[in-house]
Amino acid sequence: MAEEAAATTAAAASNYEVDLGNLMAYDPSHHLAAAPSNREAMREECLQKATELAQAVADVLFALPPNEARDGPLVRLPPPNTRLPREKHLPRPKPPTKWEQFAKMKGITKRKKNKREWDEQTQSWKRTYGYDRVNDDRDIPIIEAKATDEPGVDPFAQRKEEKKKRVEKQEKNRLENLKKAAKVGALPSHIQLAAKALPITGTKADLPKKSKKEDLENVAGMASTATASGGKFDEKLPGEKPPKHAGKHRKFLPVVEGKGIGNLEKQQYDKVLNSILAKNSEDQLDVGRAITMYKVKKEKQRSKDKDRPSKSNNKLKPQKKGFKKSSKKNA
């Protein structure tokens, strides 16, 4: 009894943190008595302390009500106190597929099909899917001709084509559904989508676009002139357009013109200087334009003055009276 009391007081005094879910005991208040240099003493002290901690955990553990199992007493552990991070994200719900959305809207529920069905043709039980299935499209020996059938059309080949189209459409829809799920992050983990299906970096604008026909024709024309003889003697391909700006791209002034700076050169320099000065000057007055505007204004004035004498002769013309009667007159 005295021993137990001592033990409990010791435990209470130390106040270990016991996490039973992890089978862990932590003594936050322990100060190392032995110096770290003396390894043996430190080791002994650690072992002794650890024994106390293990005992603390065992005290709580063995106090739990055991269920007798085949191998030994089974005990139900509580969930751990210390929370550790998950290794993967929480599973995200899959977005409904296009068919599921449609079925929900229409109220269509799934019906369970049997694995085997009775086949009238062969009078036997056949499976509903897979090898040797019931009502297989390919097993039909005779297709009766309808009035709407064109002569020369093979109905068997037609059926094959239709099936192929249906399968392609289904594959396309399946890919679309998977892409939608991948967008949310709910792609099933055994499926991988090819990298080309989803652009990872950049926007859709960064994807290389297919060239247009006219672009290709122009480029072909440009490329044809990139030969030593400028494409003069090469055979022109069908659809190849001649380059848009054929001929020289730069204008070179004649080397010799007169003494000093020739007229053309002078014109060139003037042009450049004027444009620079015009941009940088504060007035920024376009003289030519100003003159034009002034002229136009003058013209308008003149035309107005011309009209005025005609206006002053209005007395001779019949005067149009307004039909509005002023109320004042009547009153």
Partner: protein
């Protein structure tokens, strides 16, 4: 042409891939043990000891990997790739250099991206083989270990706090609900001897008969013992930490569902109060169908009678 959808070609491969899917309640984490360009004898021994301790759920790579630099921004891609391929979320990477001798990087991943890292140096290492003890007491593989953390530095020092969490995660094993008390046989003892060092021991537990139903614990050192000196560590990004710590919502209890041994699953249908007194009686109700029919017939009959005399 590369197919747009890649699906495993066999059911076995598909099953293996589905095991890697994220689960609502997670089972044990797997560990990946590998080393860098140069390792020392001590480090080789440490890595192989850790592998033996975690035999069932650990993968040990033997080749050297020189393009892994965990603490640099570009040097983690290889680690993340291996984590993805082996589905391991705990990484133990050993390397040896003059600047960092006997270096061990313990890392965790979240969604196969590096979550956090702790770099420790191994000192005063004693391998498992050097301990002599009665072989009958050797702890069995895969048993759930006890943990004993000693020292107030585990709370006061940031690095030791982080190391404590990582060590717990590394050696914990699966979180189980039912534990067989007969299978309790190992304990990891970690003592904080300084604000940056942890002295780690691995001991076997021996349950001795005591007066009460609670047995007396006895510790026998069996496994590797080493001093772990924390060099660097990287804590997880706050947003990532928040996301990783999210726990699954417990499934809501379905109301009004009872299991009857005779009828199976039953539920009660509760009818709202029909308020019969407030119902307005119209001629249109089904109960008066016959009356309506007869009234119609009489009307027609009377009409015909009227027409006929005319």
């Amino acid at each position: 042409m590369v197919a747009a959808i890649r699906v495993p070609r066999s059911q076995r491969a598909k099953r293996e891939l589905l095991k890697h899917a994220p689960k609502l309640v997670e089972t044990g984490k797997k560990t990946l043990i590998l080393h860098g360009t140069k390792t020392s004898a001590v480090l080789n021994s440490v890595l192989s000891d850790i592998y033996h301790l975690k035999r069932d759920n650990a993968v040990k790579y033997t080749k050297k990997n020189d393009n892994i630099r965990p603490f640099e921004s570009g040097g983690e891609t290889s680690l993340e790739f291996f984590s993805l391929k082996t589905d391991c979320s705990l990484i133990v990477y050993g390397s040896h250099s003059k600047k960092r001798p006997n270096n061990l990087v313990l890392g965790r991943t979240y969604d196969h991206h590096i979550y956090d890292l702790v770099e420790v140096g191994v000192e005063n290492y004693k391998p498992m083989e050097s301990f002599a003890y009665d072989k009958k007491l050797a702890p069995k593989l895969g048993s759930k270990p006890f943990f004993a953390f000693i020292g107030q530095h585990f709370e006061s020092s940031e690095e030791l706090k982080h190391l404590k969490e990582v060590l717990l995660d590394l050696f914990r094993g699966e979180v189980v609900e039912n534990l067989n008390l007969a299978g309790v046989d190992r304990i990891y003892v970690c003592t904080a001897i300084s604000p940056t060092t942890v002295y780690m021991m691995h001991c076997a537990l021996r349950l001795k008969r005591s007066g009460t139903s609670i047995p007396r614990m006895e510790l026998i050192e069996v496994g590797p013992s080493m001093d772990l000196v924390v060099r660097r560590h990287r804590l997880p990004v706050e947003s990532l930490k928040k996301e990783a710590m999210k726990s699954a919502e417990p499934a809501k209890k379905m109301k009004n569902v009872m299991k009857d041994p005779v009828h199976g699953r039953v539920g009660k249908v509760y009818m709202p109060d029909q308020e019969v007194g407030k119902l307005t009686l119209t001629n249109d109700i089904k109960g008066l169908k016959r009356e309506r029919r007869e009234a119609k017939k009489n009307k027609e009959h009377s009409k015909k009678q009227k027409v006929n005399p005319e």
